[in-house]
């Protein structure tokens, strides 16, 4: 063989080796797990139980053979309820773990701080928290962003619909005057302002309080003003830490309106066990009693209790479970992790969730991909949360009036 011929053979060999080695890397990369990166506040019950529910969903998916022939890996990072920590978590997941999809979320304040990082990477994001419409304004035009939780104004609209339906169905229930006690922060104040518009046909009076979560905890003055107003419906908008003290102080002064409603994002785990809870109405996306009318919810409940030896107490648990399954089903439908295909597959979502409803994505006021649009009206009855409305998920009749007044 001539020198020229030898060089040609050598070139072919080198090329062949490079192709084989390169292919090996590609195969190895494809055989690695599909990575889902979740950011949640793990010190809060919403994040703690939401993250556990995500682990449950991933365990089930992997036990059933994974996705696209690969296992699913869930990486959970605590945002500590701080915007800067939430933003660092996104950078960590994107650059160190190289996740395929971002999931999770709870607080709007944290999420606003995360948005610059999310916009930098433009990875597919399916977010279950952050209800503030300020967030909605910030994600306009981001086709890779899917929002699952109802926006604040959608929640307000669904309560209007719910109370109207309950009054129509049960003529004994009459609401003409409402008193709103709301925590003085963004959550309480924006809920109250939104409600004034939504419930403009009622006579509304509102007063703010400092939440026990933020160092407050004395509601007596607000409760006395409410008592003087004598409302048909009294509603407090605050946090889990306010639930028991408000009930205790209302009992102290003998304040028993016909409808006593609480609207925290999550209730204390032992609230139902308190004698003060009976008859209190609540807003939420889910109640444990939904397992009696929804097989998916029943499966979720049983599997969660079996895996963690505790009962899910916040709707962020079934929401976290839904979060993983929605992404997993979309990946399976797309057959790839390629961004455009995944977005198209997510747009075709129709997932029967443990929250009761079937999740689909449709446009909201400002964005293209909004998931749920309604909350539920619930009531604590004999230690358990029951669904009063929507009627298709109702698990009990309303106990009315509150405390049998």
């Amino acid at each position: 063989m001539t020198a020229k011929g030898k060089a040609a053979v050598l070139k072919v060999w080198v090329l062949a080796v490079l192709v084989v080695v390169g292919a090996g890397f590609v195969v190895a990369a494809e055989e690695g797990p599909i990575k889902l990166g979740a950011v949640l506040p793990l010190a809060d019950i919403t994040g703690a139980q939401g993250s556990k529910a995500m682990q449950l969903a991933v365990a089930e998916i992997n036990a059933a053979g994974g996705l696209l022939g690969r296992q699913v890996e869930l990486i959970i990072i605590d945002d500590e309820s701080k915007p800067e920590k939430g933003a660092a978590a996104i950078d960590l997941l994107a650059t160190v773990h190289n996740v395929d999809v971002f999931i999770g979320g709870m607080s709007s304040g944290v999420h606003l701080g995360q948005l610059p990082a999310l916009k930098k990477y433009e990875k597919v994001t399916v977010w279950i928290g952050a209800a503030s419409s300020l967030v909605e304004q910030a994600v306009v035009g981001m086709d890779w962003y899917f929002h699952v939780h109802p926006w604040d104004y959608l929640q307000g609209a669904s309560y209007v619909e719910g109370w109207a339906a309950l009054q129509a169905e049960y003529p004994l229930i009459k609401i003409e005057k409402a008193f709103w006690a709301y925590e003085e922060g963004a959550f309480g104040t924006s809920s109250y302002n939104g409600s004034l518009v939504a419930f403009s046909n009622w006579e509304n009076v509102g007063e703010s309080f400092k939440s026990a979560l933020l160092g407050g905890g004395d509601y007596r003055s607000v409760l006395r003003h409410a008592q003087e107003f004598d409302p048909d419906l009294f509603i407090w908008v605050g946090y889990a830490a306010d639930a028991l003290p408000i009930m205790e102080q209302a009992r102290e002064i003998g304040f028993t309106p016909p409808l006593f409603v609480g609207s925290p994002p999550g209730w204390p785990a032992d609230f139902g066990g308190s004698a003060l809870a009976n008859g209190v109405c609540a807003y939420g996306m889910w109640a444990p009693s939904i397992k009696n009318v929804s097989p998916v919810s029943e499966h979720f409940w049983d599997a969660y209790v079996a895996m963690f030896n505790e009962e899910p107490a916040t709707y962020f648990a079934p929401l976290g479970y839904t979060n993983v399954y929605v992404v997993a089903e979309a990946i399976a439908r797309a057959g790839t992790l390629e961004k455009e295909a995944l977005i198209t597959a997510l747009e075709a979502t129709s997932y029967v969730s443990p929250l009761g409803e079937t999740l689909t994505f449709s446009p909201s006021n400002l964005i293209e991909h909004q998931g749920f649009s309604k909350q539920k009206i619930l009531q604590w009855q004999n230690g358990a949360q029951q669904v009063l409305w929507p009627f298709e998920y109702a698990t009990a009749l309303p106990a009315y009036p509150f405390m049998g007044k």
Partner: protein, 312 residues
């Protein structure tokens, strides 16, 4: 000897300057928040050197955040100008507030300044047209479009500026005045120190630094809100950093800031569900057993070992 003392500082400066060259977006983002808290810790300590325990850090930080964002939204100012404006507003408000509250001493001054964050937040919440009310305001775009390397340089510059001002305070007659006020106000007065003027000056300067830190933070994350911008985190974390590192010096809060910033992130990754408990426990234990702080303990150790070497 002088050269040996300079080496750690040169080494630190070299690491800080080249940090983005050997790290990715995640570590740069962690460094950004650490540097912001470190800036607050140094500025808090600067006032403490006069003997005044001020708790207005979160208040002036939030005020600076709002001033910077509102200037951009209303007159389309350059981000740098708006950050400086944040410092100016915080400093000017501190000057006015200081004229009244710096007549108070000890616990009375501490409690009054503690209330400032709540007062500023309530005022801003009640002008919804201007400030966005309880929901706050968003910037159309974040500074440098979220480029963490550039943001790191910006925040580092703010931290370095604060350290330089703190060192100027340490190395000029301001240091002597503040130390004598801390030791005994009457003696300071009788030595010709204008106590009230010095206190107002230090209060205004440290508040302006906190306002600049707030304006920078708002530009990095792109929004302000009463709850977020006036969060107690902007008081408690810097305080813990200064106590852990060692008070009454520039380098104590710097060391404390770096240690706690790195530790909190490390613990979070190692113990996802219980890191805050461990973190809190470490702060309590260190504060109990090392009341002089980590940096002073280190200095004492270095001094003792050099004395031992000298004896041998």
């Amino acid at each position: 000897m002088r050269m040996t003392r300079t080496i750690p500082y040169l080494l630190g400066a070299a690491v800080a300057a080249t940090f983005p060259l050997f790290t990715g977006a995640y570590l740069q983002q962690v460094a950004v928040s650490t540097l912001i808290y470190l800036t607050l810790a140094v500025s808090w300590d600067m006032l403490l050197r006069s003997g005044q325990l001020g708790f207005g850090t979160a208040g002036f930080f939030g005020l600076g955040s709002y001033a910077a964002v509102l200037l951009v939204l209303n007159v389309n100012a350059h981000p740098f100008l708006s950050i400086a404006f944040g410092g100016l507003v915080a400093g000017a408000v501190a000057l006015l507030v200081g004229l009244a509250v710096l007549r108070l001493r000890g616990m009375y001054f501490a409690i009054t300044t503690l209330a400032l964050a709540s007062i500023f937040a309530v005022v801003l919440r009640n002008f919804p047209r201007l400030t966005g009310g309880p929901e706050g305001k968003m910037l159309p775009t974040c500074i440098y479009a979220g480029d963490t390397t550039k943001i790191y340089w910006l925040v580092l510059a703010v931290a370095v500026l604060t350290i330089v001002i703190s060192e100027v305070f340490e190395r000029t007659r301001i240091h002597l005045a503040l130390t004598s006020i801390r030791n005994d106000e009457r003696v300071a007065k009788s030595s010709g120190v204008n106590v009230f003027r010095y206190l107002v000056f230090v209060f205004a300067v440290t508040s302006a630094i906190q306002g600049i830190a707030g304006g920078t933070y708002a530009h990095v994350f792109g929004f302000v809100s009463p709850e977020g911008s006036f969060s107690a985190n902007f008081l408690l974390l810097p305080l813990a950093m200064a106590l852990l590192g060692g008070i009454h010096s520039t380098w104590g809060p710097v060391v404390g800031g770096l240690v706690l910033g790195a530790l909190s992130e490390y613990l979070k990754l190692q113990i996802p569900y219980g890191h805050l408990l461990v973190y809190g426990a470490i702060i309590v234990v260190v504060t109990l057993f090392l009341p002089q702080g980590v940096s002073r303990m280190f200095k004492t150790w270095v001094r003792r070992s050099s004395v031992t070497r000298g004896v041998q």
